[in-house]
Each structure stands twice: as C-alpha cells, then as structure tokens.
C-alpha cells in the first residue's frame, strides 16, 4: 500500500474545499474527506496485518525518495504497529471532529480547511521515518491550532492561542537542537543522516546522548504536557472550539508521546536509562498535580483539560519505566486517552451548545432532557476513572503492571503514588458527572432542550465503539503494537 495516500488524500480534499461554496457543500466535502481517511486507515490496518506476516523488516510499506540530496534529507515513510494504531486513532478523531462541527456557520470553509490540514500534519508525523520529514510535519500541525483557537474559540482565546503556539514552537525548537545533534553525530558512508533507521543502527556516543536526550525529550514532552511545561494545556483546550479541543487532546498531545518514544528513547537508549529517574518523578508529579488540580475546577472543559495532564502523565511514566509492558501500556494509554478525551470534549461541546454554560454548578438533571448525551457522558467518565471493560482500565493497568516489574523501592513508590491518583480521578469524575446530569433540573429553560442530533450521535458512537473494542478485546491492539515495542525494547535492552 502506498502510504503517501495518507498525505495526498487530506491535501486533495482540502484543495477541493477551497473550490466549493456554501456550508452544505463544504461540510459534505469535509465529511467525505474524513470518511475516506478512516476507510484508508482501516484498509491500512488490514494490509499491515497481512504484510507483517511475510515481511522481515520492522517497518513495512517503506518508501524512500531523495528530497534534499545535498543534505542527505529524504522523504522516507513506513509504518509499524505503533504508527498504525496512531493513524487509526487520528482517523477516528478527525471523523468525529468533523461530525460534531456539522453546524459550524461562521467562516466554515476556513474551519474545515484547517481541520483537514491538521490531520495532514498528524498523518505525516506518524508515518515519517526521516527525522527531517517528521519535524516538518510536527511544525505543520502547530499554526492551524493557533488559528482554530484564536478565530473560533471562546473565553480568553487570543491569549490561549498565543500561549499554545509559542510553547509548542519552543518545544519544536528544542526538538530541532536534539535532531541536529543526532544528524551531525551519525555518519553513514561519510554523510550525515536524518534517517531514523540508520541512526538507530549507528550507536551514538553515550556522552552525546546525555547531551541531546533532554532536548529531544523535553521538546516532545512539551507537546504531551510534561510537567512543568503543561501550562498551555488547560488554557488551550478550554478556549478551543469543540473540534479543535478534540484534535488537540486526542491527537496533538500524542505527537509528543510518540516522539518521546520513537525519537528520544529509541535513538538514545543509554540516555533514557540515565534520565529515567527524572522522567518518572516528573510524570508522577504531572499525574498527581493534574488530578488534584482537576478537583478544584468548576468548568467542564477545564476539568477535562487538567485530567488530560494527569492522564498523559501515564504515557510518560510508561516510557520512563523502560520495561516492555510499561511501554506497551504507554502506547495503549495514548490510544485510549485519545479516544476518551476526544469523546469527552465532544460531549462537553454538545452540552455547551444547548445550555450555553460549562459550569458544573449551573448544570443539573440533564439526564432527564438529553438521555443520549448524558449516558455517553457517564460512560466516558467511567472510562476516564478506569472502569474495567473500557479502554482506560486496560491502558492504565498495563502501565502499572509494567512499572511494578521494576523492583527497586523508588519504582515501587512511584507506581503506588501514581496508582493512588485513580482515587482522586474517581472523586472529580463522579462529582462532575453526578452533579451535572443527575438531581433536579436547575433551570426551567433546560426542559426545552433537545437530545443529540444524528451527526452528534454518529460521532459519539464512533468513538464509543473504539473505547469498547479496546476495553473488551485489548489483545487486538496489544498484538498490533507488540512487535513495534519489541524493536524498541531490543534497543533499550532488557532491564530486570
């Protein structure tokens, strides 16, 4: 299968979008684009499962073209199980995001154009095997977010948009330094290279790894809310329009996690060992701090945003623990959190559209007037607090199991501390869900509100299906990503 289709498709549709007129045509084209992307991703999954059996290399559907010959920069793409999982996640979230923005009246053409452009950046990032191409797509996905938040957002949108853009760009600036360090310290046939596979075969001197690992890891870490660089998350998510929040939390934060794993940890394994203590401490802080900060929030979007900080902490914790199970758990948590948080934001968006408030104290009794939305809200809340049978449980459990495999007291304490956060999660989730959908109806005008329309129902069901599949048959996903983590583990070396 030609992986470049994943780039050509969004690009072609976004150009087509420029040609059509009127909300109806625009959203039809956007929906077609999203459906086509999902179809392509599912097709990719099947092709990948077939191809994997016969292929001997770690990455399949390899394509390698020279881009800048003088600098040895190539357009090199290929996928392994982890990237396929990420691509699927992206396709799900994008389709749901298009569906919930169905009534986007204001400057609709620009809105859907930017949304498709964002998905282009995400696909490009996940399929890249050349660090330059990867960096290119990482930055492609920054400015559309700025515009989406700044133009269509709510609240202090300009401030949040600017903060997000600058912090993410600072992240990519650090990533850039790390990447150039990798580039200049590998030499294949007398030439420096950005090629991920070649760098991975070419061990980099330990002291250089110690130097460049922090750049790459913190750089990508900013994208995935590494403490103390998480401050863009609450502002950015809460000011963004629903679709952008879904994309931001669902996919964009995963770019960082994927980068931390694929670039920082995979290419600089010695340094990953060296700095693992710091990573674990920081991620534990993020998990606990995020959870406690969420308890203090009264705005539903802020609740989900802060809980994202906490949940993404598990991703970094899994990576920092450096055992196979924990890294598997980190990838699972990326997918699970992506689906769950996108659905969470979608539901919050639906509630807000009807009641025009996101304050928990203002809501109440919604279950009586909008049963569908409220039920989804309950399910996604339970998923967030890790109820067995839903995706959150699987992912977090795997991270904890992986972490427990490290026997030292330090790792044990870190595991226990982060596992304890689940109690806090249960407190804030149950409180938020309970007081907004149960009890008496606080305002009489809520009685007139309607339930979800077809587009909203489709979006919710789509993401729910993902969550349920992951929760009920987790080994499908584990099987998919397992060979990928195996490769990374070979590089890291087994620790026990």
């Amino acid at each position: 299968m030609n992986l470049s289709l994943l780039l050509i498709l969004p690009l072609a549709f976004s150009l087509l979008l420029l040609a059509v007129k009127g909300l109806k045509q625009v959203r039809t084209v956007a929906l077609l684009a999203a459906v086509a992307q999902l179809g392509l991703s599912v097709f990719l999954l099947f092709k990948f499962l077939q191809e994997r059996v016969t292929s001997s290399s770690d990455f399949v559907f390899d394509q390698n073209y020279t881009w800048y010959k003088a600098l040895n920069i190539n357009y090199h793409v290929g996928v392994d199980g982890i990237s396929v999982a990420m691509i699927l996640l992206t396709a799900f979230v994008v389709l749901a995001a298009v569906l919930v923005s169905w009534k986007q009246e204001h400057q609709h053409k620009e809105f859907f154009f930017l949304l498709l452009f964002l998905s282009l950046g995400a696909y490009g990032f996940f399929i890249s095997l050349d660090l330059f191409t990867m960096f290119f797509f990482l930055e492609v996905a920054v400015i559309p977010k700025f515009l989406l938040i700044g133009i269509w957002g709510s609240g202090k949108k300009e401030y949040s948009a600017l903060k997000l853009a600058l912090m993410l760009m600072a992240g990519s600036a650090l990533v850039f330094v790390g990447l150039s360090g990798l580039y200049f310290n590998t030499s294949v046939n007398g030439q420096h290279t950005f090629d991920l596979l070649q760098i991975s075969q070419n061990s980099i001197a330990t002291n250089l790894q110690y130097l460049f690992f922090p750049f790459a890891f913190i750089g990508f870490g900013i994208f995935t809310a590494l403490f103390p660089f998480h401050t863009w998350v609450p502002d950015g998510h809460s000011s963004a329009p629903t679709a952008a929040s879904m994309f931001l939390a669902g996919i964009s934060m995963k770019l960082g996690g994927y980068g931390c794993l694929r670039v920082a940890t995979y290419l600089m394994p010695d340094a990953a060992h060296h700095y693992s203590t710091i990573i674990i401490v920081l991620s534990c802080i993020a998990i606990l701090y995020g959870a406690f900060a969420t308890m203090m929030q009264t705005d539903l979007k802020y609740i989900n945003a802060y809980s994202s900080v906490s949940h993404c902490g598990f991703v970094l914790l899994g990576i920092g623990m450096l055992t196979k199970t924990s890294i598997n758990g980190a990838v699972l948590q990326m997918v699970s959190h992506g689906l769950m948080t996108a659905l969470f934001f979608a539901v919050i968006g639906m509630i807000y559209e009807r009641t025009h408030t996101r304050q928990v104290a203002q809501l109440g009794g919604l279950l009586k007037v909008m049963p569908f939305i409220s039920s989804v809200f309950v399910i996604v809340g339970l998923c967030s607090l890790g109820l067995p049978g839903l995706s959150g449980f699987v992912a977090e459990m795997t991270v904890f199991m992986g972490s427990w495999q490290r026997a030292d007291t330090f790792y044990r304490i870190a595991t226990i501390v982060s596992a304890a956060s689940i109690v806090v999660t249960a407190v804030y989730i149950l409180r938020a869900v309970g007081s907004s959908i149960m009890g008496p109806i606080k305002h009489t005008e809520y009685l007139k509100l309607g339930d979800a329309a077809w587009n909203e129902k489709t979006a919710a069901v789509l993401l729910l299906v993902g969550i349920l599949i992951m929760g009920l048959v987790p080994f499908w996903l584990t099987d998919l990503i397992n060979p990928g983590t195996e490769v990374i583990m070979q590089k890291i070396g087994m620790i026990k």
Partner: protein, 467 residues
C-alpha cells in the same frame, strides 16, 4: 571585445535600460505614467529572462572584474527582486510625478551592486558600493512632500558615508600590509598579524553597517520608516541581499585562512542581531518599523549560516536570501497597497483586515509565516538549513539560541496575524482595489514561497554552483 559583451552582459543590459529610460524622459516629456511603467516592467522582465542565458565565466580589465555562474545566479536573484518591487509599486508610481527618475536611480544602484558582486579587487568593490549606496539616499527622499522622507535620506547618507569611511580606512590599511588590493594577492598574504586583523575588522564593520547587523543597526529603523515603501523594500531585500552575497563570498574565498577569527565575530554578531532585533520588533506599532527590526533579526539568522563556513553554509545563505526576497516582498507588497491606497501603516489599522480583504490577508499571513519559518512555507527550509549549517561547527549553544529566537520572533509575527484574523474592529480598512501589476507581483511571491521549499531544485542548483 566579444568576451567583453559576453561577460558583462548583465551589466550592459542594465545600462541599456537606464539609457532607454533617460531618453524616454528627455525625448517625450509628456509620456503617460501608464505607458512608462508598462515599458519599464517589460524591460525588467526581459532583463530577468536574459540573465538566465548568461553562463560564461572569466575575468576582465586586468582581473578587476570577474564573473561566474554563481555570480550570474546572484545577479538574477537581485533582478527578480527588483522586478517584483517594480510591479508592486505600480499604484504608488502611478500617482508619482517622477517615475522615470525613480527607475533610473534604482537601476543605477542595481548596477552598482552588480559591479560590487563581480569585483575581484577592493578598489573596484568600493566603487561599486558607492554607486549602489548614493542613489539610494536620493530614493529614500522620494516622498517629496514628506519631511520624514527627507530625514530618512539624510540619515541614510550620513550613516552610509560613515560606513564607507570605515571600509576605506580598512582598505587603505590592508593595502599597507599587502601592497595590493587584488583578491588573489590578499588571499595569499592573509594572516593573523595584528595590522592585518585590524584592517580586516574595519572592513567587517563596514559590511556590518550595510547589512544592518547589531551593533551597526542604529540607522535602520528610522530610514525604513521614513522612506517610501518601495524604497524600504528595496533597502531591506535587494541592497541587503547583495551585500550579504558579497560579504559571504569575500569571507569564504579571500579570507578563508582567517576563518577562526571571523567565525567568532559572525557568531557574536548573529546572537546580538537576533536578540536585539527580536526584542525591539516586539514593541513596534508601525509595520515598516516592525519589519525593519524583524529584518535585523533575520540578518542574525543569515550570519549563523555564514558562520558555518563551508559549502552548505554558503549555499544556505544564498538560498535564504532568495526565500527572504519572496517572503519579505510579499509582506511589503500588501503593505504598499494598503499604505498607498488607504494611508494606513500601523498594526492596529490591520485589525479586522480579514473581513474586508481576505485575499490580501492570506498573502500577508503566508509571507509572515515564511518569515517566521513555519512549514510548509519556504522560510522553514531556509531557516532550517541556515541553522543546520551553523550546527555543523558543533556550537550547540549558538543554535539553541537561534532556535529559541525563532520562538520569540513567532510571537510578533503572530501579533499581526492575530490583529488581522481575530481582533474586532468597527472600521476596518476597506476593500483595496488593485490592478494586474501588484497581483502579478504577489502571485510570484506566493508561488515562490510555496514552491522553493517543497521542491528541492533551487537549493540543489545553488549547492551545485557553490561546490
């Protein structure tokens, strides 16, 4: 004689155009502005196309003047920039009584730059430089009824004379050490002796003035603000670009033995220019002034590429100047239209611009993204390669500073984007009408911004010539 025509083809063509314009001005006193502009633009177009056919290399006049494929390319880049400026100043020149004189002055400076580029002797270089700077002062004064314009011209001529003085002082010292001003002789004798270094530093200071690197930048903002926009854009891309070309090739070919000396100078100038340019750009309200400071910080990035000191550095500098021409001129093009038609130049005036002028807003936005180095615009590739070239020296402190400065610069570019797209304004700038000429200029610029990066051809071609 034949060789003379072949090697100096570009200079001769330019001289011919200057003479044609002179004759037109003299012979037909009442020539319509429209006809004149059309004629000049066609001539410049022919000049640009013809430039691509000259590939000969060699030297003339007892090794005073030399040319090569690389130099032809650099001249073509400057030709392209001049054509774009001419196209986008259409509205302004239509209202101006002295369009012919403007072109004559502008092309004279361009001719001076060509000689400067092609010089292989410091004396020849100095003559070219003066030809390139004195008419520029007259151009800066071209808003004849504005005091600020005259002030800008005065400032420019004084600071330019000061820079020339420094350069001449350096050149005369160098003559004292080397006994020759020929580049080949200088290359042979260059060494880190105190007197030679002293003269070398003076020459670099002269260059620094012309490219407005910090701490030699103090004239820039006032001159940019006071001059007509056409002149500001000419100053900031063509004049600066040519000087960067000359400086890079002089440092790389003539003073290559002194690399470790000028490496440090370039690194310090780069850091200062980036930081000071950025910090001052944040505070600006007037867009011309703003672009002046942003261009200072862009020079800082270019100097990082220069400090790379190898073929990658050289080619990324030339490549970046090409991209810089597209991006900066696209921004100036929009600004020029708005300023000429509506007389508005501050960032606040651009609030709500998207409501009334969506197309112009996108052009300006793409230009600013390219200046900020955001993919997929060409500016991303330009900056990436510059910093990568700098990183080749293993000076990771320098490139970390550079990378973080890109974030700072993003802040102020986004300020304008925010004003245009997000801020509400009760009386936004009304719809700006434009003719074919500015549209063509913008199409060239935007096309350049999109294509030059994603398609590697331009960089590969430059790299092959530098090699």
């Amino acid at each position: 004689m034949n060789e003379f025509f072949i090697l100096m083809q570009q200079e001769l063509l330019l001289t011919a155009i200057i003479f044609i314009l002179l004759f037109v001005k003299l012979a037909a006193k009442e020539v319509e502005a429209k006809t004149l502009l059309l004629l000049t633009n066609i001539l410049l177009g022919i000049n640009l196309v013809a430039g691509f056919f000259s590939t000969a290399s060699g030297s003339l006049f007892g090794d005073m003047f030399h040319t090569s494929e690389l130099l032809h390319l650099e001249k073509n880049i400057l030709n392209l920039g001049t054509l774009i400026i001419s196209l986008q100043s259409y509205n302004w020149l239509m209202k101006h009584k002295h369009a012919a004189e403007f072109y004559i002055l502008m092309l004279s400076t361009l001719l001076g730059m060509f000689f400067m580029l092609s010089s292989s002797n410091l004396l020849m270089f100095y003559v070219g430089l003066e030809l390139a700077s004195i008419p520029l002062a007259a151009m800066a004064n071209f808003d004849l009824d504005k005091k600020r314009s005259a002030e800008a011209a005065m400032k420019y001529i004084i600071s330019s004379a000061f820079a020339s003085g420094l350069l001449l002082f350096g050149i005369s010292m160098m003559y004292g050490v080397a006994g020759s001003l020929n580049f080949a002789d200088l290359k042979a004798i260059a060494s880190a002796t105190p007197l030679f270094l002293f003269s070398f530093v003076l020459i670099i200071a002269g260059f620094g003035f012309k490219i407005s690197a910090v701490p030699f930048h103090l004239w820039t903002a006032d001159v940019y603000e006071g001059s007509p926009i056409a002149v500001t854009s000419y100053l900031s891309v063509i004049s600066k670009g040519s000087m960067i070309f000359v400086m890079t090739s002089v440092l790389f070919t003539v003073f290559d033995k002194l690399f470790f000396q000028w490496y440090n100078i370039m690194a310090v100038l780069a850091v200062l220019s980036m930081i000071v340019g950025n910090l001052f750009a944040i505070r600006q309200q007037n867009i011309k002034r703003f672009l002046a400071f942003s261009s200072i910080s862009q020079v800082g990035f270019i100097l990082i590429g220069v400090s790379g000191g190898d073929n990658t550095g050289f080619s990324s500098v030339i490549y970046f100047v090409l991209i810089y021409i597209f991006s900066n001129l696209a921004a100036f093009g929009v600004l020029s239209l708005v300023s000429t038609e509506k007389g508005k130049e501050t960032i606040d005036d651009f609030k709500g611009f998207y409501k009334t002028n969506p197309l112009l807003t996108w052009v300006l936005a793409i230009a600013l993204f390219s200046l900020a180095g955001i993919p997929p615009t060409a500016g991303f590739f330009g900056k990436f390669f510059l910093i990568l070239a700098g990183a080749g020296r293993n000076n990771y402190l320098l490139i970390t500073i550079a990378a973080l400065n890109m974030v700072v610069s993003l802040y102020y570019y986004l300020r304008i984007i925010k004003a245009m797209f997000m801020d509400a304004n009760e009386a936004p700038i009304e719809k700006v009408e434009m003719g074919w000429s500015p549209k063509l200029a913008m199409a060239i610029c935007v096309g350049g911004i999109v294509v030059t990066g994603l398609v590697s051809g331009a960089y590969e071609y430059i790299y092959s010539l530098v090699k």
